[in-house]
């Protein structure tokens, strides 16, 4: 922790100490003013970097190259390898290319923890503040070196000029013991990690020369040429390969583990710990075959504690406990909708249903672990929040977090599944490694990744809307229902009966709570009465399971907001149709925020949207065409999309032909990478809307491969048009990797209505469902 003393300076909340400048410290005091309060206290275990040291974040080398470090892991968002480099280079006024190294995620080599959801830190990421503090410290050094007042210095490309002289950052730091104390707060191994505090001056947006340019992502070349080291490539000396034998049902207990056929698999070994069964062998193929043989002889208790997908919404409505968890209400809720609804000339009352969905990474989860004789645990994995994983593994083994080191490698994107600390296999690798005394690599098979991972929770919502005689919404009332969204208990620890955090419950913290908070900011402030409530409950099946394992849920790309935005945006389109109004203009007419209106106008113009009410006039023929629109505010970014679809009534197949999306994220950091993110999110969103449902029976998830859980194929993608609205006056960086996946569903459902006159209020919009709907 920083100690402010007579040799130190308070730099906008940070503390600057410079040992070799003891004699001239007074001059520095003049430039920074008085020493302020000490940095807030942070909880940081050992075996990691000191987050208060500037070099833990940014290292400037004598050769003018720069290294940056972040605890947040990038699995394709391109944030750490491009946006972070741009942000740091901008704040330092150094060339982008000078940042030659990005250290990411490794718990012993990065300072701040937390997950990818926090990449842009509500507009000002940790790394930006760390760079801004470092810049001020560098200016002070330069002021001394150049004997020129700080306010008369200028910096270009990492070279400071002043008083007719110049010095590069590299020369400036050479042999100097610059010590700047970065103020941090938080708990490193908690899901949110550490936050850099204070308010260092930031470079004015009007002076940006690096942010806003389309820099390439440096890891892409490495991946394309097979030079990148993936987590899947980690091979440790003496390492054994493992395959798990997971229970038959989500609530099954182990009756007896199958015995290993040693004649066929002489080198394999079975490990049993509670209800956890694994098989290790020197080669992967032997481990796979041996695990299959052991699985065939392993007996589990029967368990049928789930309602099954066909009865899910009946179960939600009639049996689930929505009373034990406090009802959440949105900040904007105001007024009593009842009188408005009672007296309205037109009303809409409808229920919307969203299924369980899988994160479904293209590669099943895997990890390698090495529990060493001295108790040190090394984990090699692909994980969005490795510091939180460290905390979970320490808890599981009842050891201090100091003993756990997590190294992060490239891996398949998994869209939020590990943002609370585990991707699925790390804890099992640790348990097996500890049992056999050797490094162990656990690789889940495809079916395990569908059936034993967490899922995005199903939800439903009841919406009521009152319209006046002029077709304006006078009241909007919604009740959102969704089970707990974030179960970060490592599954291997649960199966083995080892310590974990509690299951989500009404008293859990904001992440592990059953409270269904309002996630979808209201954007129609022209509506005079608004009531938005969120009802939460326990995970389905968990209480009926002897292992406390039911349908474990986890946040997935645009979590919670997906489940709340689909009902709202489809209901708004339905209300527009009831009012006989154009769905896009209807939104503009009810919105008051300039940025929301601007993004709607942008998507209108880019898609060539012609105003008219829905449904479309012509509703006969073999192919019916329609269009729909949706709107969202997420992480400081305003989004709107238009989907144009073709529906074949005979088959029920919906084909999205054209997809136009506009986003105003405030400052666009990197238009090239943002465009690719948005295109990808668009495709995933169409996949969610048309295809994705994690089916389940009374015992567990029944989807098990890409045939039973299809995702969108290349032949099914539409023409995609992305409109980026750079809005520098916002002064902050909005998120761009989420949200795009959530906009498609309500726009496609509205387009189906536009094309056919029929409303589909349940996702996914599979052909059989649409066919049945159109025949009704």
């Amino acid at each position: 922790m920083a100690i402010a003393n007579k040799d130190s300076q308070n730099v906008f909340g940070a503390t600057l100490t410079r040992r070799e400048l003891l004699g001239t410290g007074g001059a520095l005091l003049v430039s920074f003013g008085l020493v302020g309060s000490q940095p807030a206290k942070a909880t940081v275990p050992g075996n990691t970097l000191d987050p208060t040291l500037p070099t833990s974040w940014i290292e400037i080398h004598p050769d003018n190259t720069i290294l940056i470090r972040t605890g947040k892991s990038d699995f394709g968002q391109s944030t750490t390898f491009t946006a972070y480099r741009q942000i740091v280079a901008e704040e330092l006024s150094a060339p982008f290319e000078a940042i030659t190294t990005v250290v990411m995620g490794d718990t012993d080599r990065t300072p701040d923890g937390s997950g990818a959801f926090d990449f842009l830190g509500r507009g000002t990421p940790n790394i930006r503040k760390a760079a801004a503090y470092t810049y001020q410290a560098l200016l002070d050094l330069a002021s001394e070196s150049l004997r020129s007042p700080k306010d008369q210095l200028s910096v270009k490309d990492g070279v400071v000029s002043g008083g007719g002289k110049k010095i590069s950052y590299g020369e400036l730091v050479k042999g100097r013991q610059l010590k700047l104390t970065i103020p941090v707060t938080g708990d490193l191994t908690s899901p949110m990690g550490l936050t850099v505090t204070g308010n260092p001056p930031m470079k004015p947006v009007s002076e940006y020369t690096i942010i806003g340019k389309p820099f390439r992502n440096s890891v892409i070349a490495s991946k394309v040429t097979a030079k990148e080291q993936w987590a899947t490539d980690v091979r440790l000396p003496g390492m054994l390969h493992a395959r798990m034998v997971h229970p038959k049902a989500l609530g099954s207990k182990l009756v007896s583990a199958g015995s290993l056929d040693k004649t066929r698999f002489p080198n394999a070994q079975v490990v049993v710990s509670g209800n956890l069964v694994g098989v290790v062998a020197p080669t992967e193929w032997e481990a796979i075959q041996a695990a299959q043989q052991v699985a065939s002889g392993t007996r589990w208790s029967e368990w049928k504690g789930l309602p099954g997908d066909a009865k899910l919404f009946e179960y939600f409505r009639n049996e689930a406990d929505w009373k034990s968890t406090p009802v959440a209400k949105s900040d904007k809720s105001h007024g009593d909708p009842a009188p408005a609804l009672a007296g309205a000339p037109k009303t809409l009352k409808a229920t919307y249903q969203m299924p369980y969905m899988k994160h479904a990474p293209l590669g099943p989860t895997m990890a390698a672990a090495d529990v060493q004789p001295d108790g040190t645990v090394h984990i090699y994995t692909h994980n969005q929040n490795p510091q939180a994983l460290r905390g979970e593994i320490a808890k599981m083994l009842a050891v201090p977090a100091d003993q756990v080191i997590v190294r992060v490698f490239a891996g398949p994107g998994h869209y939020g599944r590990s943002n609370g600390g585990n991707a699925g296999a790390e804890d099992e690798a640790v348990i097996l490694s500890k049992a056999v005394g050797k490094p162990v690599r656990v690789q889940w098979m495809r079916d395990e990744d569908f059936q034993w991972s967490t899922q995005s929770p199903a939800a439903f919502a009841d919406v009521e809307i009152a319209l006046d005689a002029k077709g304006r919404i006078t009241a909007y009332e919604v009740d959102h229902y969704m089970p707990a969204m974030q179960d970060d208990r490592p599954i291997g620890a649960v199966l083995a009966g080892l310590p974990t955090m509690a299951t989500p419950n009404p008293k859990g913290d904001f992440i592990s709570s059953t409270v269904n908070s309002l996630q979808d900011p209201w954007l129609y402030d022209g509506v005079s009465v608004l009531m938005e409530r969120g009802h939460g409950t326990y995970q389905v099946g968990e209480k009926a399971s002897p292992l406390a394992i039911g349908l474990r849920d986890h946040s997935m790309r645009t979590p919670g907001q997906f489940q709340q935005n689909f009902p709202r945006e489809l209901a708004i389109s339905e209300a527009a149709a009831l009012a006989g109004a154009d769905a896009l203009q209807f939104r503009i007419d009810h919105a008051t925020e300039d940025r929301a209106i601007a993004v709607l106008k942008a998507v209108r113009d880019a898609s060539g949207w012609q105003p008219r009410p829905s449904p479309a006039g012509n509703r006969s023929g073999d192919t019916l065409r329609g269009r729909g629109v949706s709107l969202m505010l997420r992480s400081g970014s305003y989004w709107a999309c238009v989907c144009e679809v073709a529906v074949t009534p005979a088959s029920g197949v919906i084909r999205v032909e054209k997809y136009t999306i506009a986003v105003d994220p405030g400052i666009v950091v990197n238009p090239l990478q943002l465009k690719r993110q948005v295109e990808g999110g668009a495709v995933m969103g169409i996949s969610h809307a048309l295809l994705e449902e994690a089916r389940f029976d009374e015992s567990g998830i029944t989807v098990h491969d890409w045939r039973t859980y299809p995702i969108l194929k290349m032949s099914e993608i539409p023409e995609i048009k992305v409109v980026l609205l750079n809005n520098p006056k916002v002064g902050a960086y909005g998120g761009g990797s989420e949200a795009a996946n959530a906009l498609a569903a309500p726009a496609i459902a509205a387009a189906l209505h536009d094309a056919t006159g029929k409303i589909a209020r349940r996702l996914p919009l599979k052909a059989e469902y649409v066919q049945t709907l159109l025949r009704a």
């Binding site: 699995f75 394709g76 968002q77 391109s78 390439r216 992502n217 890891v219 892409i220 070349a221 991946k223 394309v224 040429t225 097979a226 990148e228 080291q229 993936w230 899947t232 490539d233 091979r235 080669t283 992967e284 193929w285 479904a360 990474p361 293209l362 590669g363 099943p364 490239a410 891996g411 398949p412 994107g413 869209y415 690789q443 098979m445 495809r446 090239l672 990478q673 690719r676 993110q677 295109e679 990808g680 999110g681 668009a682 495709v683 995933m684 996949s687 491969d705 890409w706 045939r707 995702i711 969108l712 194929k713 290349m714 032949s715 993608i717 995609i720």
Partner: protein, 173 residues
């Protein structure tokens, strides 16, 4: 013990004959291009070329490779250099046009599927010099045992990269 020709080099391998080629390549030969995605020939992440034809190494036993030439992602630059008769000096600094296009277009998101995507693109462009959009979609969707799947949704970027690579390959450099 079997002998396998991989990326132009004959390699002795110890794995049993029924071992899926994927594990031989990854674990014994330390070629990390092909990835384990499903083990069911349903996604394409494990693709390699076998005598120029895209196959799924996760379900192909080692014995099925026989004397055929296996090309992995690592072997694409040499494959191109050989096809074009590049000098050793040029070959050392030239990527396969498919790889180069993947970089130019900034195609990968997480990148886990892109090994198979680039292998499929190479197979396509070796057979069809200037594929139409429909031919590209057909190649990645219905030409093999399964569609090549990308969970991040990079299909648009893949199509643009294939078109870019096609233009380069048609020019011959």
């Amino acid at each position: 013990m079997a002998t396998l020709t991989v990326n132009g080099v004959r390699r002795d391998v110890q794995s049993p004959a029924d071992t899926p080629l994927l594990y031989v390549l990854r674990n014994e030969l330390e070629l990390s291009g092909p990835q384990f995605g499903c083990g069911l020939a349903q996604c394409g992440a494990c693709s390699v070329l076998l005598d120029g034809k895209e196959i799924r190494s996760c379900i192909t036993p080692l014995s099925a490779a026989g004397t055929k030439e296996v090309t992995t992602l690592e072997g694409l630059p040499a494959r191109w250099a050989q096809q074009k008769g590049l000098s050793k000096a040029d070959a050392g600094k030239t990527l396969h046009p498919v790889q180069q296009a993947w970089i130019e277009e900034q195609t990968p998101l997480c990148g886990f599927c892109q090994n198979g995507m680039m292998i499929k693109a190479t197979e396509l462009l070796e057979q069809t010099a200037n594929p139409t959009l429909a031919q590209i979609k057909e190649a990645f969707t219905t030409s093999g045992p399964s569609p090549h799947l990308c969970r991040c949704g990079s299909y648009t970027a893949i199509i643009q990269a294939v078109q870019r690579a096609a233009a380069v390959m048609a020019r011959g450099r």
